[in-house]
Each structure stands twice: as structure tokens, then as C-alpha cells.
């Protein structure tokens, strides 16, 4: 099972209307080559799940500028004025989610949990329309699991079985999105052969990675 595929084959797995999770935090740890190729290929009416919408010229923000999203779930859109414009003018629906809630919702989606019980957002606009569960007299907001059709992820290093390791602050949402998506595609800076990655060093086991694009070969 060699999981390596070409950039072109990778982005052809994204179909119009899909929900896509994309790793990265303000374009750090974002799969830029996958994003560029997906913009080139074109895809529309996507729903995005991502920490933020990056910048107009960097990260997932380039896809916002290309008007590929009909709906966006993110914790922060302030660094990309185009997202704000599309939101205010009703072109794109934007759902703002607290960052810690968002990552737990993705983990819950990937790990088979029924939801996330959190204090975050209680008493704010975030709780509107959501179930509140009382546990031993304390109230918690129930946030539902999130899943996607495709996850586009970044890693510093992958072996051909899809085991991943990271450098610096690039892990962010990349570690759990693969578990929560039907198809996960990782753009790795470096791809090594089986046995060349120490099992102690693996941060994300290959079971969560379906395809790998070798960023170093591009």
C-alpha cells in the first residue's frame, strides 16, 4: 500500500459541494501546493472547516478570493478582508466557532464521540440554538462532532504508510482532521521509505492518512 499520489490526482478527489477541512493556522502548516492546485483545477460550493481564512495571498485565503466556498466554519477571519466582505454582502455564510471548540468538534468527529461538552461560549451568541446539558448542577454547551468529505493537510515528514511528524507550530489542526474526513490527503515536505521513521517519532499514525503528495518532489 503505497499512498503517494500526484498533486493532480489529489485535487481531483475534491468535488463540487464537498465539505473540506484544511489544516493550518494563519498559513503556518497549510498545504499551499494542494491549495494552489485545487484553485487551478477549480471547485465550487465547497464548505470549509479551518481555524481561520488566512490571508488574501497566502493559505486558504486564496480559495476565499477564488470564491470557492458557500459556507465557512472558522474561529477567526480578521486577517482576510475578502472573507469579511463576502460575509457582510451575503455571498458566503460564515459560522464563527471558538477555536478550542472547533478542534474538539473535529476530534469528536474523528474519534466517534457524540459531541463536546464545554463551558466555552455559554451565555454568548455561540450558545444560540444549541442543546445545554446539565451535569451535577453545572451547565455545559453541547457542540456537535464535525466531519468532512476531504481533508487537505500538511506535515513536515511522512513515510509512505502515511505516518506523520511535524516541526514547529505546524501541527495545529493537521493532527486530527485526517481522522474526521472520508479522504485525507497530506502534503509532506519530505517523504521517507517504510522503516525510515522511528515509531516513537510518529505524531499522526498512518491510519488517518489516505494519500500523500510529496511536496519535496514538486
Amino acid at each position: 500500500m503505497n499512498k503517494l499520489i500526484s498533486l493532480e490526482d489529489a485535487v481531483n478527489l475534491v468535488r463540487d459541494g464537498d465539505t473540506v477541512m484544511i489544516g493550518g493556522f494563519l498559513a503556518v502548516g497549510t498545504p499551499e501546493r494542494l491549495i494552489d492546485a485545487l484553485i487551478k483545477k477549480g471547485a465550487k460550493d465547497l464548505t470549509l472547516i479551518c481555524n481561520d481564512t488566512g490571508f488574501v495571498d497566502r493559505g486558504v485565503g486564496k480559495m476565499v478570493v477564488a470564491k470557492m466556498f458557500k459556507k465557512i466554519y472558522a474561529s477567526h477571519i480578521g486577517t482576510n478582508k475578502e472573507t469579511g466582505r463576502q460575509m457582510l454582502e451575503g455571498e458566503t455564510e460564515v459560522v464563527l466557532v471558538p477555536q478550542g471548540t472547533l478542534i474538539e468538534q473535529i476530534r469528536a468527529g474523528g474519534f466517534g464521540l457524540g459531541g463536546v461538552l464545554t463551558r466555552t461560549g455559554l451565555g454568548t451568541e455561540v450558545e444560540k440554538g444549541k442543546q445545554i446539558v446539565e451535569i451535577d448542577g453545572e451547565k455545559f454547551l453541547l457542540e456537535k462532532p464535525m466531519r468532512a468529505n476531504v481533508a487537505l493537510l500538511f506535515a513536515e515528514k511522512a513515510d509512505v504508510k502515511g505516518n506523520l511528524s511535524f516541526h514547529g507550530a505546524t501541527r495545529n489542526f493537521n493532527t486530527y482532521m485526517g481522522a474526521a474526513a472520508d479522504i485525507s490527503i497530506v502534503e509532506a515536505e519530505q517523504v521517507v521509505q517504510v522503516g525510515e521513521m522511528c515509531p516513537d517519532e510518529v505524531v499522526v499514525p498512518g491510519v488517518f492518512v489516505k494519500y500523500i503528495v510529496d511536496g519535496g518532489s514538486l
Binding site: F25, G84, P98, G100, T120, T124, F166, G168, F173, V203
Partner: protein, 218 residues
């Protein structure tokens, strides 16, 4: 004091609140300056919610590592003894009460500790990012901000803007004074002698309880 001096004055006073061994998360803007004033001999670790503990100063131009950025996306460094992790761990640290102190800016703070700092209806909405999680999870919440906005009070009986969190704020540091949020409301514990207590009250939208131990703010 000009704007920069005001901000430095506030940041310096906030830094004096930090204790040896504390784990601290600083919001963007003014709160970021607090890192510059940690008193000698105190060891304070800063968390960057995008994925590490041990946030260090900005790197020299030729030492920039694009994988090491702060939660604002800017290049930073990691101090010896630091660690990188993913967003689930980062917000586990935050929501589990392992951050001793968070320092955030605010648009409004109410006398019961309610805080509004993430949106103004009808305007561009940047999103809450990790603020709601920090407010619900950190052991101590310090608001660092200018006392008024264009002459209008930001300390109020009740917030009029959408809340970021309910009953979350412990302490407010402005250029006018230091205000504790107590069960009975705002208590002025220190004041900047450039202002009279009457002037501070006039700039505040709720009644100030004057501490019996009222001191000059250093």
C-alpha cells in the same frame, strides 16, 4: 502620556501581577507588550495558542523559521525548555485551567465580570479565535486596555455589545488605575496619580468601590 507610553504603562503594571512559574497567554495588541516587562528573577512561560509553550522574542531576519510563528502569524522564537503541540493539546491546556493568567484587551467590561471583545454588530467581525476558551478556562483573567474609547466609558454596569464570556474578568488594568471585579462590583485598588479618583469615576460607566487600601499605581 502619548498612546505608546500609555500602553507601556499598562503593560508594565500587568507584568507585575505575574508570578514566578506562571504559564501566561497574552492576547494580540497591547497585551503582547506585557512580555517585555516581566520582572527580573521571575520565570514566566508564555503560551502561544497556535501550538507551543515557551514563546520567545522575534528572531533576527536571518534566523526566521517559517514554521515558528505566534498566534498572530508573526515570526517568533521558542525558548529552551519549550514544547510544540497541536491545537487539541493547546486548548486542553487552556480549557483545563492550566493557564495561570491570560491578558486580553476588551471593548467593554461589566461590573459582574462580563466581557465583550470580539464583535461589533454591523461591522467587520474578526471572530473570537481562542478568546472565549481563554476567558472560560484561564485561572485568572486580566483585561489590559485604555480606560475609555473616544471618551466613552468601557467599564460599564452591563455590556451592550455581544458577550465573549460571562463573569470571566478578575482584574482590569488601565492607564487610570487597577480595578478588581468583586462580588459587589468594580473596586478601585490603585490609581494613577495623574488622575483624581473623581476623574476616574467620571470615566467609568459603573460605580467604583474605593478600596480601603487604595494605593498609587506604579
Amino acid at each position: 502620556m502619548d498612546k505608546q507610553q500609555t500602553q507601556e504603562f499598562i503593560a508594565r503594571r500587568v507584568a507585575a501581577e505575574l508570578k514566578d512559574g506562571d504559564l501566561v497567554n497574552l492576547g494580540i495588541g497591547l497585551p503582547t507588550l506585557v512580555a517585555n516587562y516581566v520582572p527580573e528573577g521571575k520565570e514566566v512561560l508564555f503560551q502561544s495558542e497556535n501550538g507551543f509553550i515557551g514563546l520567545g522574542p522575534a528572531p533576527l531576519e536571518d534566523e526566521i523559521d517559517p514554521s515558528i510563528a505566534n498566534a498572530g502569524g508573526l515570526p517568533v522564537t521558542i525558548v529552551p525548555g519549550g514544547s510544540f503541540f497541536d491545537s487539541a493539546m493547546s486548548f486542553g491546556i487552556i480549557r483545563g485551567g492550566h493557564v495561570d493568567t491570560t491578558v486580553l484587551g476588551a471593548l467593554q467590561v461589566a461590573e459582574n465580570g462580563d466581557i465583550a471583545n470580539y464583535m461589533i454588530p454591523g461591522k467587520m467581525v474578526p471572530g473570537m479565535g481562542g478568546a472565549m476558551d481563554l476567558l472560560s478556562g484561564a485561572k485568572k483573567v486580566i483585561v489590559a486596555m485604555e480606560h475609555t474609547a473616544k471618551g466613552n466609558p468601557k467599564l460599564l454596569k452591563t455590556c451592550t455589545l455581544p458577550l465573549t464570556a460571562v463573569r470571566a474578568v478578575d482584574l482590569i488594568v488601565t492607564e487610570m488605575g487597577v480595578i478588581e471585579v468583586t462580588p459587589n462590583g468594580f473596586m478601585l485598588t490603585e490609581y494613577n496619580p495623574e488622575y483624581t479618583v473623581e476623574q476616574i469615576q467620571a470615566a467609568t460607566g459603573a460605580e467604583l468601590i474605593i478600596s480601603p487600601n487604595l494605593k498609587h499605581m506604579q
